[in-house]
C-alpha cells in the first residue's frame, strides 16, 4: 500500500529536514513564568522517524508544536527543509502546509463531512481543484478502508476512524513531514492498532515523522531514534534497541521501569 510519493524524499540532499538549535520556550502565566523548553538541539534527517517519550509535563507537546510554530519559541532557531522558520517575516502558513500534524483529540471539523475535512485546505490553498481534491480524498480514504464514510460527519465515526481520517486529512496536503502528538492516547484500546498500522505504513513509505507517544512497541518497531525528554531538555537519545535495552541516565531508567 502506498499513500503518495513523499516530496521530502525526492530532493534528498544531505541537509536535514529539521534542524533545531537551542530552542527555548517560556510560558508567561498569571502564576509566573514557566520555562518549559530549556535548550533543545536536534537534527532530524529526511525519512527519519523520531519517537519522543518522556514524563507528563516534560514539554513534549510544546516541542512538537514549536516545530510547526503553533507555539512561538521564546528563543532559538528552527530550520525546516532549508528555511529558517523562526526568522521574522517567514510565511508560516506556507511552512505549515508542508508539515502535517495529528492531534490527540483528532480535531476533525465537526461541521464538515469527511470528504470536506480532507479537501478544504488543498482547495482553499489552490493546490487542487475541488474535483481533483475529491478524487485524491477518495483515493486516500480507500487506502484506510473508509471510502464509504466520505459523506459521513466526524461524529458518526469511531475514535479510530476519526484518527485515521485526521491522518489522511494531513496527507492530502502532501506534507514533507508529519508530526504526531499522542495520536492513540484518546482511543479505546481496541482501536489503537488500526491507527498505528496506518502510521507504520506511512513510515515504511519514507515519511519523515516526529511522534510523541506512549506506545513503546511502536517506538521499538518503527523509530529510527528515540528521544527521552525530561524537564525541557533531551536527556538521552538512541536507537530504539539501545534505548530500551541499555538506558544510560538514571531518570531514563526510572521512566522506563514505570512505563514498561
Amino acid at each position: 500500500m502506498t499513500f503518495d510519493k513523499i516530496p521530502g524524499e525526492t530532493n534528498g540532499s544531505g541537509q536535514p529536514m529539521v534542524s533545531v538549535r537551542d530552542l527555548r520556550k517560556t510560558f508567561h502565566t498569571l502564576a509566573g513564568n514557566v520555562e518549559v523548553l530549556k535548550g533543545i538541539d536536534i537534527d532530524i534527517a529526511r525519512g527519519e522517524k523520531v519517537v519522543i517519550v518522556g514524563p507528563s509535563g516534560s514539554g513534549k507537546s510544546t516541542f512538537l508544536r514549536c516545530l510547526n510554530m503553533l507555539e512561538t519559541p521564546t528563543s532559538g532557531r528552527i530550520t525546516f527543509n532549508g528555511t529558517e522558520i523562526t526568522a521574522p517575516g517567514v510565511n508560516l502558513d506556507e511552512i505549515r502546509a508542508q508539515m502535517g500534524m495529528v492531534f490527540q483529540h483528532f480535531n476533525l471539523f465537526p461541521h464538515l463531512t469527511v470528504r470536506k475535512n480532507i479537501t478544504l485546505s488543498p482547495v482553499l490553498l489552490k493546490m487542487q481543484t475541488q474535483e481533483e481534491a475529491d478524487q485524491h480524498a477518495e483515493y486516500l480514504l480507500g487506502r484506510i478502508g473508509l471510502k464509504d464514510k466520505a459523506d459521513s460527519y466526524p461524529n458518526q465515526l469511531s475514535g479510530g476512524q476519526k484518527q485515521r481520517v485526521a491522518i489522511v486529512r494531513s496527507l492530502a496536503m502532501k506534507p514533507k513531514m508529519m508530526l504526531f502528538d499522542e495520536p492513540t492516547s484518546a482511543l479505546d484500546p481496541e482501536m489503537v492498532g488500526e491507527v498505528l498500522e496506518v502510521m507504520k505504513e506511512l513510515a515504511n513509505e519514507g515519511m519523515t515523522m516526529a511522534v510523541v507517544t506512549h506506545e513503546m512497541n511502536f517506538a521499538r518497531d518503527v523509530a529510527s531514534r528515540v528521544l527521552f525528554v525530561d524537564e525541557g531538555v533531551i536527556l538521552e537519545q538512541n536507537t530504539p534497541k539501545e534505548f530500551f535495552s541499555n538506558p544510560k541516565h538514571p531518570r531514563t531508567k526510572d521512566f522506563l521501569s514505570k512505563i514498561l
Binding site: 510547526n68 503553533l70 512561538t72 502558513d93 506556507e94 505549515r96 502546509a97 508542508q98 508539515m99 502535517g100 500534524m101 492531534f103 483529540h105 480535531n107 476533525l108 471539523f109 465537526p110 461541521h111 478544504l120 485546505s121 482553499l124 490553498l125 461524529n155 485526521a166 486529512r169 494531513s170 496536503m173
Partner: protein, 232 residues
Amino acid sequence: MNSLSQRLYDDFIDKGRYMYLVKGLGNTVLITVFALLIGVLIGVLIALVRVAYLQTEKKGILLRILNLICGLYLTIIRGTPMVVQLMIMYFVIMASGAPLMIAILSFGLNSGAYVAEVIRSGIQSVDRGQREAGRSLGLSGRRTMIYIILPQAFKNVAPAIFNEFIVLLKETSVAGYVGIQDLTKGGDIIRSITYDAFPPLLAVALIYLVIVVFLTQILHVIERRLAKSDLR
C-alpha cells in the same frame, strides 16, 4: 353605555381603523428584521476584535485602539436605556433622515452590543484544537476563522441570536417615541381617536403575544435540531 360590539366596531372596523394595527405590525417587523441584520453584522465585527485582542500575545497599537472603541461602545450601549439612545439618534445625531431608517439604525446599534457578546461566547466555545487543526493545515488565521470557527460558533449561538430577535421585536415598541407608527403606536392612535383604551391595547398585546409564542416554538425546533446533530 356602548355595547361591546359597538366598541369593537368603532375601534377596529369603522373607517378601516384596523389598518393602524396592520401597518404598525408591518413597521415593527421591518424594524426588527433589519435591526437584527445590522446587529449581527456589528456583533460579528466586535466579537472578532475582542477575540483577536484576547488571543494575541503581542497586541499592536491598531488592535488596542479597536478594542478600546469596542469596549466603549459596549459600555455606552448597555449602560443607557434604549429609548434614550433612540431619541438621541433621532433628535440630535440624525436630525434629518427617514424616521424608519433612523429607528432601524438605532435598534441595530443597540442589538449589536448584545449580539457581540453572544457571538464572542460562541467563538470562544469552539474548541481551540479546531483553530490549531486549521492553522496546521496551512490555513491563515482569517480563513480558519471564516471556514472553521465561525460556522461552529454560529451553530452554537443560533438559538441565542434567534432569541435576540424575539427580544428585539418587543423592544421596538418604543419606536413611537420618535413618531414611528409601529404596532404599539398603532393601537395608541386608535385609542386617541375613539377614546376607548382597552380593546386596541388588548389587541396590540395579543398580537405581540401570538407572534412571540409562535417564534418561541420555532426556537425550540431549532434547539432540538441542533441538539440532534450534536449526537455522537
